[in-house]
Subunit: 320 residues, 2 copies
């Protein structure tokens, strides 16, 4: 089933910001002299790792959940995800007082299952295949009447994710460039819409693992190119670009840099060591692009969206 | 050699704040709903883990270094330490354009040696005994004419450390209580002086590992009791209380709670997981005291000084 949607605009992002204000944190913008020195630029980090449920995903989920008319919302919301979207949707639903039905592979990490349960989500387990996830989700929606809230390919999600860049630009109006990591493209497309509307002339870049470079290839060829079984430490960026997201990225993103796995791990560790904050590997991809000199921002003021902070503290990527 | 000093006052802390303003960060105060819930209180964390050189020690070191008359400062400063004070003194000296001579045991962790060198300190290695450290320091001072800046038992250090509580109370004037970890007592004594002067009626507590409970025993008996070879994961709290520090703590601290090693590790991990910030084990001791219900602050507004964020990221305390 393909549903055509209007693309969101800056007004949708502004409305989203108003709508979700009671339910999300206005996260701080941090700076770090030693990382500025290494990147040869002035970096402004928007700390969505401090967001509720630990990632920017809360913005889109809250916007989608609180945009539903009451009679629709009452039936609950549903999604299939084992990551940050599932936790965020569970929390947003709980805040609205409705059910969130989450379809997860039965082999999902226990910590992710616990997060969903902790935020009040109801889990239905399935086999760990995309087909099983989609079939199980269809069953759940059939049985409950819940509304499917996709993780990125939806205007309300995109508008919600765009509120992070909106706040960053409000707090730091001097930016010459802004960089976001690209997975499904929800954050990237929302960031691009917000940045180009609020800061005309700003350069908007994406950053992606070489091992999951579907957005890079899609932008280069002009045709949406999926990732096939990508393997990268940046687990939040394995998903392939959505259609709406690609449409926006094609029109509003100036370039996408790709980076190596070693470089992602190195940049992640630098953020931990120098900034003393916990970020997940996906967060480190934009900084990795700067340290690899893949983007020409020397001497410029650069906003970076740190997407989330949900990591397995038992085992860190730099541990052999 | 014992030198008698006047005890510092709130005016010294205010002057220290002015003096060090160009050289330190005004660190943020963070809150966390889930930790509030667990602690059954409203917690306000003063994030000295984000301080320059990664710990509150920069405040005292900068105050001591920038308090020196120019002709004295020109000879440089010296200390024996393998921890945060050495790194902070090195950075403060570099900022003033003078030398810092640091005596360290030759078996100090490479990461700590690198930090001192990175901030411009000049290391003299010695055998890993207190006698060797003191003898080597005396030699260095003899040869260079540098001024010994002790890590905690000094009025300028105490006044500098007190600026963290000063800022916390300026930013959060509603506190009912304030808690700091206790090692040598520099942070605790500065915190107590600042808090009781600025917020009359505030309760001031210390928190200490059971395995290094010299302040608890000293306060209880009224006589300064050293720790003998303490073994605790909170490596910043192994040092025994200084004389000046004890004098202040005896008069201005309402109580000291002690906590188990398990409890420190658990609290540290909670701060990492829930607040997404990197803190060293010493930081977690006050929260551990609240989770162990060792301090009666139910429903109260409680300030907690997070002392630093310098940890070995290769190996975390909860890893078996």
């Amino acid at each position: 089933m393909t549903v055509m949607h209007d693309l969101p605009t800056i007004d949708d992002i502004r409305r989203a910001a108003e709508r979700i204000r009671p339910y999300v944190h206005r996260t701080p913008v941090m700076t770090c002299e030693s990382l500025n020195h290494m990147a040869r630029a002035f970096l402004f980090f928007k700390c969505e790792n401090f967001q509720k449920a630990g990632a920017f995903k809360m913005r889109g989920a809250a916007n989608a959940v609180f945009s539903l008319p009451q009679n629709v919302a009452a039936r609950g919301v549903a999604t299939h995800s084992s990551g940050n979207h599932a936790a965020a949707l569970s929390l947003a639903a709980t805040l609205r007082g409705i059910e969130a039905y989450i379809v997860m592979p039965h082999n999902s990490p226990k910590v992710k299952q616990a997060a969903v349960k902790g935020y009040g989500g109801r889990i239905t387990f399935c086999e760990p295949t995309l087909q099983a996830r989609e079939d199980t989700l269809a069953d759940v929606v059939d049985q409950t009447g819940a509304i499917f809230i996709p993780p990125y390919n939806h205007p309300d999600i995109i508008a919600g994710q765009g509120t992070a860049a909106l706040e960053l630009i409000e707090d730091t109006p001097v930016l010459d460039a802004i960089i976001a990591p690209v997975g499904g493209g929800g954050l990237m497309s929302g960031t691009a819409l917000a940045a180009q509307s609020l800061s005309p002339g700003i350069m908007v870049y994406g950053a992606e693992p070489e091992m999951a470079d579907d957005a890079y290839r899609s932008l280069k060829t002009g045709i949406l190119q999926p990732s096939v079984n990508p393997k990268t430490v940046a687990d939040g960026l394995k998903t392939s670009l959505g259609e709406l997201n690609f449409e926006i990225i094609r029109n509003h993103v100036d370039g996408i840099a790709t980076v190596s796995e070693e470089s992602i791990i190195h940049a992640m560790r630098l953020i931990w060591e120098r900034m003393k904050i916990i970020v997940e590997p996906s967060c480190a991809v934009p900084l990795a692009a700067l340290l690899e000199r893949k983007l020409d921002v020397a001497g410029k003021k650069v906003g970076i969206i740190l997407s989330g902070g949900n990591v397995d503290l038992e085992r860190l990527p730099w541990m052999g």
